[in-house]
Symmetry: C2
Subunit: 410 residues, 2 copies
C-alpha cells in the first residue's frame, strides 16, 4: 500500500516510538498512583513527555501540558472549559468538526454567540474580519492552524496579536500542524494549543493534549480520581491534575515522548523541507494532467492578509525573542503537505476507490469533517480526494500517485 | 520488583497484547476514516474488539460498546450524559472518586440530588437502603461492582433487580471487576457498564469504554469529527459514533482485543480460581502475624443482604437464561484479589516505602481515591496499604510479601 492519508493518521512511525510503547507496556505502573518503582517510572515517563511537548510548542510551563486521548478531546476541554453563557466566540470556515461541533453545541445549549470568519473559493480567510467581529462579549477566538482539507495554514501569529490586543483568549487547533509547521505558543500569542499525537508528531493513537498559558482558567470536562487530594469533593485545581482525571495512557505517552525525540533529532526544518518538496513534486506532476482541479493550493494567503502579518515564526525565536520569518513552503506562507483535488466530474469516492483498488494508493475521499470549507470551495455536494504526505513518504510514491491520477483522468 | 499493585494497573500483560499493539502501530490507519486498506483494517480491528467486549460483558449489541480512554471517562459520559437537573441519584460509600466527583459536580452545578448508601466498618453496604432511598425523581443508581480498596464486591444482580423494578437506570463501575469477576449486563440488569482496559482485562493503558443497553439515551460528553454526517451541526446520533468523537485509539484497542482473546482462552473461572487462591494464601499467611488489621476481608456481605440475593451470576447464563450462582470466592460472595491492611499504628506510607525499598515489593499506600470507604473503615486519617494480585502473580511472590510483612510488623 502506498499510504497517502497521513492527515488522517501517520501509519509509518519512527522505530523508537514502537520500542518505547513496548518498553512502557512491559514495565510501567500507573502514573501518579503510588511511590514504588513501577509507578514512579510511569510518572517520570509522563513528566518527560510534558517537558518535551512544552519545549516543542514553546509552552513555558511543562506542568501546563495536560494529556488527552486526541485533539478532539483537547478542543472540547479548551472550548467547553473556557466559554460561559453570554460569551461571544469567533472561529473560521476552515475548521474541522472538532472545533465546530463543540461551538455549535454551546451556541444551542448555553447561549454562546458564534461568528464565523468566512473563506473565499480558494480557501483563504478574510484576516480583517477577526478584528471587525470582536465585541465586548468576545471571550475567545478559536481557529485551526492548518486546514485538514487543503493544507492552507492560518497566520496564527497575526491572529494571536489581534487576540492579545483585545484581551481575548486564543485557542488553536494544531491537529494538522503539530510536527509539520513550527509552533511557539508564547511568540504566537496562543493561550491554549490543542494537539494530537498520532498525525504529524508520529506518535501512537490515543495520545494528544493541550498546552495552556499560565493564568488561563479552564474547567475540566471530566472529573474523577487523581491520586491526590482524595478527600476533596472537587477535582483538584493544581496543574495538570485539574484536567487529567483517571489513569493516563502512559503507554501511549511514552511513545509520544520518543516521537518528540525523533522530531527534535531530525529537525522540523528538515521535515518541512522534505514534505514541501514532496508536495511540490506532486503539484508539478499533476499540473500536467488535464481536468484536475486543486483546491487551496499554494500560492495562497494572498487575499486580505496585511503586509505586516507574519505567517509563522521560527521555533528558535523562543520566549520573547523577536520572531523571525520561517523559510516558507511558498512565497506566500506555509502550507502542510496536503492536497485536495477533483477530476472533472468524477465522483471523488470512485476516484479514491480506484486509486486504492487498482493502484494500491490510500487517499481519502468525502467531506473530511470540514463542512464550511467544502461550502467555501464549492465542493459541498461531492467532496474531494485528499492526498496527504509525511516525512516518510518517498518520491517514488509521489510519482506513482501522479501516474495513477494521469491514467484515471484520461 | 514484586508487583502487587494490580488494582492500579496490571503491569504484566499477555504477550499477544503487546504483539497486537505492535502490529496495529505498524499497519493500521484511522478507523472509520476512509475506505482504503489501512483505514478498513483499523475499522475492522475496532469492530472486532466491540464484538469481543459485548460477548465478554453480556451486552447484546456490539454497536452499543463505545470506547473511551479509561473508565473515568466512561463514567463521566454515563453519569453526565443521563442525569439532568432535578434528577435524584443513589450511589454508595464504596465508590471511587471517578463516580463520586462527577456526581458531586452535578449536585453542585445542576441541582441533581444525591443519596449515598453507607457502609459499615467492615465495608459492607446496607442493601435495604437502595430501595428505601428510591423516590419518584430517582433517575439512576450508580455503583461500583467491587471496591478498589477492600475488594468487596457488591451484589449488582440484586441491585439491578431493584433498579429494574422501579424503572431506574443502573450504571455500574466495573473498573475493578472486569476480567476478575463474571459480568453479564442483561442477566444482572445493568443499563450502562463502564470498564477500563488496563486492569483486570490486562489490555493497554488508554483503553476502556461503556456498554449500553439498547434504548438508553446518553448525551455525548465530547463532540467533534466522526467520519460520517459531516454536514450535521450536531454529533450524529447513531451508535457508537454518538459517543466517539475524534480518532479512536485503534492501537490500544487492538491490544485490548487480544486481551479479550486471552481471557476467553484462559477462562474467567480459571482466573478467579487462581486469584482467589493467591488472596487466601496471602490472608492465611498474614493471619499469623500479630498487629495486622485487614479491612473488609472475606467473609463479608453478611450484614443486611437478603437471603435471596444473588451475589453474582454465571456468564453462561446468557440472555434471559436463569442466572446461576457462581463458584464464590468465599461462602459469602465474590471478592477481588485485593487486600487493604494496616500494621498497628505504623504509617501506611512508611510501610509501603519499606516494602518497596527494602523488599522490592510494590504496593500502594494512601487513600486510593475512595474517601467514603476510608471513612466507613475508620481509616480516613491515615489510609491503608493495599495489596492487589493478578493472574500472573506467583505463590512465591505472595510468600515474599507475607515474610516482608512479618519482619516489618516485628
Amino acid at each position: 500500500m502506498i499510504y497517502l492519508d497521513n492527515a488522517a493518521t501517520t501509519i509509518k512511525k519512527p522505530p523508537e516510538v514502537l520500542d518505547a510503547v513496548m518498553a512502557a507496556m512491559s514495565g510501567l505502573g500507573n502514573a501518579s498512583r503510588g511511590a514504588h518503582a513501577g509507578a514512579l517510572d510511569a510518572s517520570r515517563a509522563v513528566y518527560d513527555a510534558r517537558v518535551k511537548a512544552a519545549a516543542f510548542f514553546g509552552c513555558p510551563r511543562p506542568d501546563h501540558v495536560a494529556f488527552t486521548s486526541n485533539s478532539t478531546e483537547a478542543l472540547n476541554v479548551a472550548i467547553c472549559g473556557t466559554l460561559r453563557p453570554g460569551d461571544h466566540v469567533i472561529t473560521t470556515a476552515l475548521e474541522h468538526n472538532s472545533v465546530l461541533r463543540p461551538l455549535y453545541r454551546l451556541e444551542a445549549e448555553q447561549g454562546v454567540a458564534l461568528d464565523i470568519v468566512g473563506a473565499d473559493p480558494g480557501g483563504r480567510v478574510d484576516y480583517g474580519a477577526f478584528e471587525r467581529l470582536i465585541r465586548p462579549q468576545t471571550r475567545a477566538i478559536v481557529c485551526t492552524h492548518a486546514s485538514n482539507l487543503t493544507g492552507i495554514c492560518l497566520d496564527v501569529a497575526y491572529i494571536g496579536a489581534i487576540a492579545r490586543r483585545h484581551g481575548v483568549l486564543f485557542i488553536v487547533d494544531a491537529s494538522q500542524s503539530a510536527g509539520a509547521i513550527p509552533i511557539h505558543m508564547t511568540a504566537m500569542g496562543i493561550d491554549i494549543l490543542c494537539f494530537t499525537g498520532h498525525k504529524g508528531l508520529m506518535g501512537p493513537q490515543g495520545t494528544g493534549g493541550l498546552c495552556v498559558r499560565e493564568g488561563v482558567d479552564i474547567r475540566p470536562l471530566k472529573v474523577g480520581g487523581t491520586g491526590v487530594h482524595t478527600y476533596s469533593k472537587e477535582q483538584p485545581s493544581q496543574w495538570p491534575t485539574r484536567l487529567e482525571a483517571g489513569t493516563l495512557n502512559a503507554h501511549g505517552i511514552a511513545g509520544l515522548s520518543a516521537a518528540f525525540d525523533f522530531l527534535e533529532r531530525t529537525g522540523l526544518d528538515a521535515i518541512m523541507e522534505k514534505e514541501s518538496a514532496l508536495l511540490y513534486r506532486f503539484l508539478r506532476g499533476i499540473g500536467c494532467i488535464d481536468g484536475i482541479e486543486v483546491y487551496g493550493a499554494p500560492p495562497h494567503l494572498t487575499a486580505s492578509r496585511p503586509a505586516s502579518a507574519n505567517p509563522c515564526i521560527n521555533r528558535s525565536a523562543a520566549d520573547g525573542a523577536t520572531p523571525t520569518c520561517l523559510p516558507r513552503a511558498t512565497a506566500e506562507g506555509p502550507h502542510t503537505a496536503v492536497c485536495a483535488l477533483n477530476i472533472r466530474d468524477r465522483d471523488p469516492a470512485w476516484v479514491a476507490d480506484e486509486l486504492s483498488e487498482t493502484y494500491g494508493i490510500a487517499t481519502r475521499a468525502g467531506a473530511h469533517c470540514a463542512p464550511l470549507m467544502h461550502r467555501a470551495l464549492g465542493t459541498e455536494g461531492r467532496g474531494a480526494v485528499r492526498f496527504s504526505f509525511s516525512y516518510f513518504t518517498t518520491e517514488d510514491e509521489i510519482d506513482a500517485a501522479i501516474d495513477a491520477l494521469g491514467e484515471i483522468a484520461r
